[in-house]
C-alpha cells in the first residue's frame, strides 16, 4: 500500500525512497517490502525517513534501559516496539534522520562488523560535511562528538542482505532521550543543531548523506 503511495524520488547509486515523517510500523512494512525486492535480485535501496516518537528495542535489549513510565510515554506520544536488529534500546523522533540502506553484503565482503564500521564512517563523513568532528568510541558502536553520542546503529541481515541501519540526530528534541538509557549506556545525546548552534536543514543533511553513502559503501 505504501509502495503505491510513495514514489521513487531519486537515483544516485541506489534506489532512494524518501518517506518523510512516517510512523515506525508503516516504515517497517515498507522496509520489509524493499528487503524482499533486493533478496529477489532487485536494485539495492536506501530508505530515508524520520519517525514519530518511538522507542525501539533491539534483540539484546534490557528493559531496565527504559527509564520513562507508561504515563510519561503517553504524555509525550511515544510508542514502544521490539525490532529484529542488533543492539539495545534506542529512540527515534522527528528531527532525527534515519537511513535504512538495504544492501547486498555479498558484494561487500560478508562481514557484519566491517559493514557496521562502514556505516560509522558514513556518519562521521556526514558530520564532517557540516564541520562537526565525529569519532568512534573505543568499545561501543555508534558515533560520538566529544563525550556525547550523535548517531546510533543497528542492523539485521537476511541471506547477506542488510537492513535497518543508522540514525543521526539532526535537530531532534534531545529531552526525549531522558526516557531511555541509549544502547544501555550512561551517555548524553547531542544533535547536529546543538553542536553547530545554528538551525540545520534536514534536506541538506539528506543530500550530504546520499553522497557519503555512495562514496563509502560504493
Amino acid at each position: 500500500m505504501v509502495l503505491q503511495r510513495i514514489e521513487k524520488i531519486e537515483k544516485t547509486g541506489y534506489q532512494y525512497h524518501d518517506l518523510g515523517l512516517i510512523e515506525y510500523d508503516q516504515a517497517y512494512v515498507y522496509q520489509q517490502e524493499c528487503v524482499a525486492n533486493v533478496l529477489q535480485g532487485g536494485e539495492e535501496q536506501v530508505i530515508l525517513c524520520e519517525h514519530h516518537p518511538v522507542i525501539t528495542l533491539g534483540r539484546l535489549s534490557d528493559k531496565r534501559n527504559i527509564l520513562g513510565n507508561q504515563e510519561d510515554m503517553k504524555r509525550l506520544g511515544v510508542i514502544m516496539r521490539p525490532v529484529d536488529r542488533g543492539g539495545d534500546v534506542t529512540l527515534h523522533a522527528p528531527g532525527q534522520l534515519v537511513a535504512y540502506p538495504i544492501l547486498n553484503l555479498n558484494r561487500r565482503g560478508r562481514d557484519l562488523h566491517k559493514y557496521l564500521h562502514h556505516l560509522e564512517e558514513v556518519a562521521i563523513a556526514l558530520l564532517s560535511e557540516f564541520g562537526i568532528l565525529g569519532r568512534r568510541h573505543p568499545t561501543q558502536t555508534g558515533v560520538w562528538v566529544k563525550e556525547k553520542k550523535i548517531a546510533s546503529l543497528g542492523i539485521g541481515v537476511r541471506k547477506w542482505v542488510a537492513y535497518h541501519g543508522l540514525a543521526v540526530n539532526v535537530h531532534t528534541d534531545l529531552k526525549l532521550f531522558s526516557l531511555i538509557k541509549p544502547c544501555g549506556l550512561n551517555v548524553s545525546m547531542t544533535s547536529m543543531a546543538q553542536e553547530m548552534k545554528v538551525p540545520v536543514e534536514m534536506a541538506a543533511v539528506k543530500k550530504a548523506l546520499k553522497e557519503c553513502l555512495k562514496r563509502i559503501l560504493g
Binding site: R59, R85, G86, R110, H113, Y115, G154, V157, K159
Partner: protein, 80 residues
C-alpha cells in the same frame, strides 16, 4: 542428516547469541527458509536451512552463545 552450523560472520566474530528460532522441531523447512536468528552486538543474522527436510534437533536454546562452526540444528532431508 544435514547440519545447520553458525557460519563465518566476519573477521573478528567468533561467537553469536541465539536470538530466536523461527522453526520448531518437527517442522518442515525449505532450502531458503530462515531457521534461526543469531545476534552479535549490533547485528542480527538469519541462518538459512540450506536444504529441505524436517527439523529434527535444536542444539542451542535462545540466549545461549554458539561459536562459529558449532552445529545449531539438524535437518532430516526429504525428497518431496
Amino acid at each position: 542428516m544435514n547440519e545447520i552450523y553458525l557460519p563465518e560472520l566476519g573477521e573478528d566474530i567468533e561467537k553469536a547469541t541465539i536470538a530466536c528460532w523461527h522453526k520448531k522441531v518437527g517442522e518442515r523447512v525449505k532450502v531458503d527458509d530462515d531457521v534461526v536468528e543469531v545476534v552479535t552486538d549490533k547485528a542480527t543474522f538469519n541462518v538459512s536451512a540450506g536444504g529441505k527436510g524436517i527439523l529434527k534437533e535444536i542444539r542451542f536454546k535462545e540466549g545461549e552463545v554458539a561459536k562459529v562452526g558449532d552445529v545449531l540444528a539438524v535437518i532430516e532431508p526429504t525428497r518431496t
